[in-house]
């Protein structure tokens, strides 16, 4: 995330006062289901690992307010999800799911990612 984003998108959110996440506690399981059902996985990968179609959302998951704000107001390539199609409570579930994704391995611990030739 670049600075420009932070000031234009995330900072105003604090005023917007995101926080009313519905009555139920967020659920990891529901979050995973929603993440799949509403198509986040298409661009961000089933574990939020990211691809060229969507930034990595894990392991350094953004704060819940920032995620919610991005989903509502994305200024760029990502389709916007308005309240009518994705509720605040569902977003809270998604955040819970993303936060529960385990840390990926260190690339140096993976044989095929080690010792690749780079530079000349």
């Amino acid at each position: 995330m670049n600075i420009k984003y932070f000031s234009s998108v995330i900072a105003p959110l604090c005023l917007f006062g995101f926080g009313a996440f519905g009555q139920e506690d967020p659920s990891v399981e529901r979050g995973e289901q929603t993440f799949m059902r509403v198509g986040c996985f298409q661009c961000h990968g089933t574990n939020g690992q990211g691809s060229e179609a969507g930034t990595a959302l894990t392991p350094d998951t953004l704060p819940p307010e920032a995620i919610a704000n991005f989903i509502r107001f994305s200024p760029g390539r990502m389709p916007v999800y308005p309240e009518e199609i994705l509720s605040d409570a569902e977003i809270a579930d998604i955040v819970a799911y993303l936060e529960a994704v385990p840390e990926p391995p260190d690339p140096d611990s993976i044989t095929v990612l080690k010792g690749l030739k780079v530079g000349e």
Binding site: R37, V38, G39, F41, Q42, C43, G45, T46, N47, Q49, G50, S51, E52, A53, G54, A56, T58, P59, G76, R77, P79, V80, Y81, P82, E84, I85, L86, P104, P105, D106, P107, I110, T111, V112, L113, L116, K117, V118, G119, E120
Partner: protein, 660 residues
């Protein structure tokens, strides 16, 4: 040419019985089994093949018509010289190696001359299961071999099939020769089918996306046409050409072969940019503080890569490689492709070398509100060197949006680079050179950082099932990197696998990456890979194809061609069980309309039933493994597949993957 017609000695029943017997006799062990045992399997007998379209055509005609046709075919048996023999001589003079074709009754003469008169060598008839595949094979073949191949089809139904992949070749600036059969003289048409398979102007259908076409009316004119077509096709901007080769000409008896002359072929030197404009470009580059070079179809040959590296190093300019051809090694410290956006917005001089969509590089278009924003900074100088303005047609819009620039050099990029390097060298003062040298350390660090970032991202989702595209690509690379490998196809876009090969593979040779199906027409990937792998077979390279599932289902008969002609090719399925790009686009549209977003899978997913690609491959005589869902199963399957390919056969590994 009329001789007393003989009774045809091949009746329908006899023909079919023969085929059945041959089929039984040549029933083979699975290709993979044979490969694993290290034994070479028996030749596939042509007798095992089903009746061809030409045979069917004969079958469908009346006995009188068959008699006439056979009489025409045997009329000059004693002299042994037919029009189509001469045509093959012309092809030989140009060292045409392959004719990709599906048989058809409007080019029986050529078919026979290639396979009998020329002993099916130079050119060899490659059996394709669809003319669209034939055109993609010729495309892939060109990009690997760097010389054109021909396709041969009916000027009507065959060309209708072939059209889409001729368009892909057009958008890709790839030369190929389309030989179109026809029966122009209505009096020579033998029946209803021949009428249906004839046209007044067959090439008109592809005229909007071929560079040139002709319909010669004599053998001498054919020779000139073919050599001219070859020359036009291979002169930048390279494009497909079409030559209508009438059945009448093919069947014509040649009485005096020595009276027919094959004109000498002299390749055209590619056009170079005007020297003054090149000098002005050099000055801009030398005086720039933060220049950047964008390249797309620059390197027509390996020399293009060398020249680009020389220019970039001379100035220490970072390069953004859009990579419709491999232009700069991925491991080169000046390859900063992953930082494209930042480089473009900071640059004071941007040089585009053979970039088709230069506008799209220096502007960004917001899909949602359809607005355009410049990505460049105020006062940045824009320069392009390309042949884009040299040959254009107006109907199809592949020329892209008009890009206003400061200097527009019309000339072939690769051919113009030596002059540009000379002019840069002449303009560089000692202080320039010092300042440029001072940049090296930072540029190397940036390259390394970009690479490390990709490595870190590849590790994410490493254990995911479906398998992440990063895992799939890196397990694959691990198994091939000690070979003289070539990634011959990634389908319509490398982005479909998140560009992992360009991010983490050491693509250090021109032939290691051949670009994409440039027109975005689906059904390019597999046949293009087979065509390229056919070229690589002779060149001793190990061919790899990353194959999207949607694309596969358009033209999977190409696998049979690979098995039949023993084309060593490793195909790894990127099987995300969807037309993923469209899934995303439909999703975005549904989001905007706020009427529910749970249905973007309708019409875009390829499930229920899930396709078993390994079984499909096996059914066509190709060794296969999968579907692989557990990423840990990938390495052993790939290792097996590599063995099969190294023993000279195609193999397919089906991997169930993440969308991107």
């Amino acid at each position: 040419m009329t001789k007393s017609p003989e009774k045809p000695n091949v009746g329908r029943r006899k023909f079919l019985t023969g085929a059945a017997v041959a089929g039984a006799v040549t029933s083979l062990p699975s290709v993979g089994e044979a490969a694993k045992e290290g034994s070479s399997s028996k030749e596939l007998s042509p007798g095992a093949l089903p009746p061809s379209a030409a045979q069917m055509e004969l079958e469908a005609s009346s006995p009188e018509q068959i008699n006439e046709q056979l009489a025409a075919n045997t009329a000059s048996a004693e002299t042994g010289s037919f029009g189509s023999d001469f045509m093959v001589d012309v092809m030989k003079s140009l060292d045409l190696e392959y004719v990709f074709s599906n048989p058809g009754s409007s080019f029986l003469g050529l078919h026979e001359s290639i396979t009998v008169y020329s002993d099916n060598k130079a050119p060899e008839f490659i059996t394709c299961m669809h003319e669209e595949s034939a055109a993609a094979m010729a495309n892939g073949y060109y990009k690997a071999a760097l010389k054109p191949a021909a396709i041969m089809c009916h000027g009507t139904v065959g060309l209708q099939h072939a059209a889409m992949n001729i368009y892909n070749a057009w958008c890709d600036r790839v030369p190929l020769i389309a030989i179109l059969g026809n029966h122009a003289d209505a009096n020579e048409r033998l029946g209803a089918t021949t009428w249906r398979h004839s046209a007044q102007d067959p090439a008109s259908m592809v005229r909007d996306f071929t560079k040139w076409d002709d319909q010669p009316h004599s053998l001498q004119a054919f020779a000139e046409s073919f050599v001219r077509g070859w020359k036009i096709a291979t002169t930048p901007p390279m494009e497909p050409v079409a030559i209508v080769t009438d059945a009448h000409l093919q069947e014509m008896e040649v009485e005096d072969r020595s009276a027919l002359k094959i004109p000498r072929y002299t390749p055209s030197e590619p056009p170079q940019g005007e020297r003054g404009a090149v000098r002005d470009t050099a000055k801009l580059l030398v005086d720039a503080e933060s220049p950047v070079i964008i390249v797309d179809r620059l390197a027509r040959t390996p020399n293009g890569m060398k020249l680009l590296v020389e220019l970039a190093e001379l100035l220490n300019v970072p390069v953004i490689d859009i990579a419709s051809r491999q232009n700069i090694p991925t491991s080169h410290y000046l390859n900063h492709t992953r930082k494209a956006g930042q480089l473009i917005s900071n640059a004071d001089v941007i040089l585009g070398l053979e970039v088709t969509d230069f506008f799209g590089q220096v502007n960004s278009v917001n899909r949602a509100n359809k607005t355009v924003q410049s990505r460049t900074k105020e006062g940045a100088k824009l320069v392009t060197i390309s042949v884009n303005d040299l040959y254009m047609k107006s109907n199809y819009q592949d020329f892209q949006r008009y890009a206003p620039v400061d200097i527009s050099v019309t000339g072939d990029g690769e051919a113009t680079l030596p002059a540009l390097i000379e002019e840069v060298n002449a303009a560089l003062t000692r202080s320039h050179r010092r300042a440029i040298a001072d940049k090296t350390k930072d540029l190397r660090k940036t390259h390394k950082d970009l690479y490390e970032e990709s490595r870190r991202l590849a590790a994410q989702g490493w254990t995911s099932s479906p398998v992440s595209t990063g895992r799939m690509c890196m397990e694959l690379y691990d198994k091939i990197k000690e070979e003289d490998w070539a990634l011959v196809s990634v389908g319509a876009s490398e982005r479909f696998v998140s560009s992992w090969p360009h991010r983490l593979w050491n693509i250090d040779e021109h032939y290691r990456y051949l670009g994409i199906g440039a027109g975005g027409g689906v059904g390019y990937g597999l046949p293009a890979a087979v065509g390229a792998a056919l070229a690589n077979k002779k060149l001793g390279r190990f061919s790899v194809n990353i194959q999207c599932d949607g694309d596969f289902m358009y033209a999977n008969g190409a696998l049979w061609t690979a098995a039949h002609h023993r084309v060593p090719l490793l195909t790894v399925m990127h099987n995300n069980r969807a037309y993923a790009q469209e899934t995303m686009l439909v999703q975005g549209t549904a989001n905007r309309r706020k009427r529910g977003i749970d249905r973007s899978n309708i019409g875009t997913e390829i499930r229920n039933p899930d396709i078993d690609y390994a079984k499909l491959a096996e059914g066509m005589g190709v060794w296969s493994a999968g579907p692989i869902e557990d990423p840990d199963d990938l390495a052993p399957a790939l290792a097996e597949a590599v063995k099969v390919v190294k023993s000279g056969y195609p193999a397919l590994v089906d991997v169930v993957t993440q969308m991107r």
